[in-house]
């Protein structure tokens, strides 16, 4: 029921829109003051959806509650740890993040525009790339593992500086070929189950698939704290899990394929607030 034509037809008949287990109508306000844009008009480039929703709207009241107050949000422990790491010297150059950057607040707005194309190399880069570049090139420290607690804590800390700002990744100019690649992946029916991201998150959001309430698969809340795993989950780890569940050979975390997919999926959420770190079941 989420295709534009159908929705339009229903609207014309002036029937109520609640035709399936829709996203709920709750409002996402964090700490009683930060009003999040968790429902928005779909961006122009998104042909098959009218409205985009944060994954928060598809979770149970109990899980939702953990995200509306930072004191209850279990991800904040990892964010606090990252704030300490930000000040901690590591590597042969004897530097910390704070040696080169102002306070972490100076990163406000960055996550809303990621991934982006590096103007020098022409390569698509995601936050993990920027962080590891600083670690290896400027701190002369070891690169962090993609989905490790150090890395995802730092991705979440930097993301938190943009919390509430609408996602606004560029999809044109030098980003265009990467975006096309990601789009193609999104609609490819991988694996022995022959399921694409769109089959689940575009055609069936709002529906139950076994015990899971399908969302639109947005990444504005990533890294998210997953209660089941009791840690921060990276975007690429989530992609891996979803592709694995189609009985497919997945792509690696940190692969160029997942960078492109990340850009495309991020662009589907253009207009939704950065929610990092969100809480999921």
């Amino acid at each position: 029921m989420n295709f534009k034509a159908l929705t339009a037809a229903i609207a014309m008949m002036a029937m109520p829109a609640a035709v399936m287990a829709d996203p709920d109508d709750d409002k996402l306000i964090i700490n009683g003051e930060i009003e999040m844009i968790s429902v928005a008009k779909a961006p122009e480039h998104l042909e098959n959806l009218d409205t985009i929703y944060s994954g928060w709207h598809f979770r149970t009241d109990e899980t939702q509650a953990l995200q509306i107050d930072d004191f209850d949000n279990p991800a904040m422990i990892f964010v606090d740890q990252a704030a300490d790491v930000y000040e901690t010297v590591d590597g042969a150059a004897g530097k910390s993040c704070a040696s080169c950057h102002d306070g972490v607040e100076s990163f406000a707005g960055l996550t809303a525009q990621m991934p982006k194309v590096d103007p020098e190399t022409g390569k698509l880069v995601v936050m993990e790339d920027l962080i590891n570049e600083c670690r290896t090139e400027r701190m002369e420290a070891d690169a962090w593992k993609w989905s490790g607690a150090d890395m995802q804590g730092m991705v979440a800390l930097i993301g938190l500086q943009s919390r509430g700002m609408p996602m606004n990744v560029a999809i044109d100019g030098p980003a265009a070929p990467y975006w096309e690649q990601g789009k193609e992946m999104y609609y490819t029916r991988y694996g022995q189950l022959e399921l694409s991201c769109a089959n689940c998150h575009e055609e069936n959001y709002g529906n139950m698939i076994r015990a899971d309430h399908l969302s639109q698969g947005m990444i504005n809340g990533f890294p998210t704290y997953r209660l089941k795993q009791a840690k921060l989950i990276s975007r690429h780890n989530r992609f891996r899990g979803c592709i694995r569940d189609t009985r497919a050979e997945t792509f690696a975390e940190g692969s160029d394929e997942f960078r492109a997919l990340e850009l495309y999926v991020a662009s589907r959420g253009n207009g939704l607030s950065v929610e990092t770190p969100a809480v999921r079941q």
Binding site: Y190, Q192, L193, E194, C200, N207, I209, R244, A248, E249
Partner: protein
């Protein structure tokens, strides 16, 4: 690996594991989405079929379908239509076709093909996320399909 070699290997494996007289996935013939001939010649067992439909590690059909007859199986999904009354709506041959490869009945459907072993994009080694180490097996065996069909035939609206 060349296509011919792949087929050769697949053929060897099937020859050793498949039961005599069984129709292999590549040899199934569809007519308007239906498969007339039993895949095994052995009548399906509806009770086994019920287990396959409900078990996560087997057919896991309830991931997408509600089945009132399996009320004790929790968390039934709603991606596909409820299967209640499927035995009235479809013939046995049509149900066999639907389970084996629903795309022959509903073009482009999200429902996976359960008796198909090639033509996939990046198929994996079951749910490991890794590349398969040998030729793929269909998700359900020929007799599993017959059992599921026998179960579906029992789903009648009163």
């Amino acid at each position: 690996m060349t296509k011919a070699l792949k087929l050769g290997l697949a053929g060897m494996l099937c020859a050793s594991t498949a039961m005599a007289g069984e129709i292999k996935p590549k040899d199934v013939s569809f007519a308007d989405g239906a498969i007339e001939q039993s895949l095994t010649g052995t009548p399906g067992d509806p009770e086994k079929g019920a287990t396959i439909v409900g078990e996560k590690s087997m057919g896991n059909c309830v991931a997408c379908h509600q089945v009132s007859a399996l009320a004790d199986v929790p968390f039934q999904g709603e991606v596909g239509p409820p299967l209640d009354g499927a035995g009235d709506r479809w013939t046995e041959a049509e149900l066999r076709g639907l389970v084996a490869n629903a795309k022959m009945t509903f073009e482009g459907t999200v429902m996976p093909a359960f008796y198909k072993d090639d033509g996939f994009i990046r198929p994996g080694d079951a749910y490991t996320g890794k590349a398969p180490s040998g030729p793929l097996e269909p998700i359900l065996s020929a007799q599993d399909v017959e059992d599921v069909v026998a179960f579906l035939m029992t789903l009648k609206e009163q």
